[in-house]
Amino acid sequence: MAALGTSSRATAWRWTILIVAAVYFLLPLWAALRFAGISAFGSVIGEPGFTASLALSVRLAVITTLVTIALMLPTTVYVHLRLPKLRRLLEGITILPIVIPPVVLIVGVLAIAPGFLKSTSLLLALVYVVLAMPFTYRALDAGLRALDLKTIVEASNSLGAGWLSTLWRVLLPNLRTALLSATVLSVAMVLGEFTMASLDLYQTFPVWIYVNSQTSGQVSVAASLLALFVTWIFLLGITVIGTRQSRKTGGGAVTLFTVAPAETRGN
């Protein structure tokens, strides 16, 4: 009886915490929804600048993610295989973009960037690559740690696969979860970044929302909510796909915080 009492008390606590948390997170959303009104969602899409800013943000997200992965995947694999002693150093370097305030970074970049870059959104993408590096490195690092990298690469080599085949057919498929995590984090970062974009005078989606809030509060709140839902659905899609793949090869569910498939060794 005592045990039952304890467990029902625990259940009560769990529900209390859950409800408090739900109210904390959902109440503002509900309030925003009330304030904007359903009709505002329809007019958001017709607002000047909406499509352009969203397209710019999506383009930046895609470029950033691809460039970051293209740079970091070979680097991380190489460091793991050949220069394991440098792992700590690399970890230290990749933490810098998080430690240095965005304002400092972008002012520095604008001061030294060559003119031809300053006039394109590519500059912003390159800065975002630097910002996305820590997440990508961490995700890949954890993914590689979960693999017996040296053995797998050597097995692949001994079976006749060169470096490219090994990377493409063996490493990439096994790092899918890590790459998905890296993608999720990079995309979320790009879609939410404000400081650099506004200082670099680009109207990315977050900047557009801010600017719009000056003129039409309702529309801008509706846009924020829309952005939130779009991002949410996007991330949900990634985790579902990731989990399906991960289950197939023995890993667990993929969450936004999963960076590597679960250990799959058995005897």
Partner: protein, 348 residues
């Protein structure tokens, strides 16, 4: 196709450690050679040089008479089974086995057929669609073996493939590997620190120590006729009994004087090396030892005897004749008449 392999005077240093110090081995086509030795003796380095994952500082590896030192690992046509599980986690067993064939641009249906045949050969046809994480350790190593054999390798390299498995599976897999290897006639280099494994599977066993080959011989020869004290003690159980070298070249221990074979140390104070089955043991009122332990091993019983001068030896006796040899019994231990190996006395 049969392949001969020649390791020629290989040396390899890691910093100040000499992992290999002039290793030469000649492997006949179809032969299974085991490299046996304590960890750090260089056996794995030797295997990795043959595989192409390490390079020798000097010396060369010849396959069918051709130096392959400059050929990258991916072009050496060597099947390798690793100590740790090395299957690609993202592929089911069948695709793992077919991987090497795919790299060799074999057509899809053909390679699937061949991979299925090989899985069948290692007894895992029903597991073809399973992913590595769904297989037991022993099954994974069998898939790894099938994968290594699928490419019809010129040489099969086994890097302690059984050491991660539990005893029963290890025993089964040992026999399976040997049977397959003999059936296919694949020249095989097998690295292990488990002497039982080496002795039971190999045509010849090379015992390594500090980057050098101490002796390479057939298992029975290695056991009955070890060339050095190191080999004698590394392979099987060996007693060390203090003795005195005589000017005549014989050695005196346990009250008898017997001939010495092999290397003779300069000192007169030596240890005589005798296997448990080489010692004679009798119950005696005022013998030279007291029984301390008795271990039943099936047909024989191993008796631990404490001799005077703080020397402990183990003696094997037929189990049927060991009833009186309980702990505390006074016994007499003596040397056989045959020539014995001696080694520099260990100071403890």
């Amino acid at each position: 196709m049969t392949t001969s392999v020649l390791l020629q005077d290989l040396t390899r240093a890691f910093g100040v450690t000499r992992a290999l110090d002039g290793l030469s081995i000649e492997m006949a086509p179809g032969e299974l050679v085991a490299l046996l030795g304590p960890s750090g003796c260089g056996k794995t380095t030797a295997l990795r040089i043959v595989a192409g994952f390490e390079t020798a500082d000097t010396g060369s590896v010849l396959v069918n008479g051709k130096d392959i030192s400059s050929v990258p690992a991916s072009r050496r046509d060597m099947g390798m089974v690793f100590q740790s599980y090395s299957l690609f986690p993202n592929m089911p067993a069948l695709d793992n086995v077919a991987f090497g064939l795919r790299m060799r641009k074999m057509g899809a249906s053909q390679r699937r057929q061949r991979a299925a045949d090989l899985l069948d050969m290692v007894g895992l046809a029903p597991q073809a669609r399973q992913y590595p994480h769904q297989l037991s350790g022993g099954q994974q190593q069998r898939v790894a073996l099938a994968r290594a054999l699928a490419i019809e390798p010129r040489v099969l390299l086994l890097d302690e493939p059984l050491s991660a498995l539990d005893a029963k599976v290890r025993l089964q897999l040992r026999e399976q590997i040997r049977t397959l290897q003999q059936r296919l006639g694949t020249t095989t280099l097998f690295v292990t620190h488990d002497q039982e494994e080496a002795l039971s599977m190999a045509d010849r066993v090379g015992v390594m120590r500090q980057g050098r080959l101490e002796q390479i011989a057939a298992p029975d020869e290695l056991y009955t006729d070890p060339a050095t004290a190191f080999v004698a003690e590394f392979v099987g159980v060996m007693n060390r009994i203090p003795g005195e070298l005589q000017p005549s070249g014989q050695v005196t221990a346990l009250g008898s004087t017997v001939p010495v074979r092999g290397h003779r140390p300069d000192e007169t104070a030596v240890d005589v090396l005798v296997r448990p089955e080489g010692l004679t043991l009798e119950v005696a009122e005022n013998g030279n030892g007291i029984v301390t332990t008795r271990t039943f091993l099936g047909s024989v019983t191993r008796v631990g005897v404490q001799l005077s001068g703080d020397v402990a030896v183990q003696v094997d006796r037929p189990s049927a004749e060991s009833a009186a040899l309980g702990p505390g019994a006074s016994v007499s231990v003596s040397l056989p008449g045959q020539p014995v190996l001696v080694a520099t006395r260990l100071v403890s």
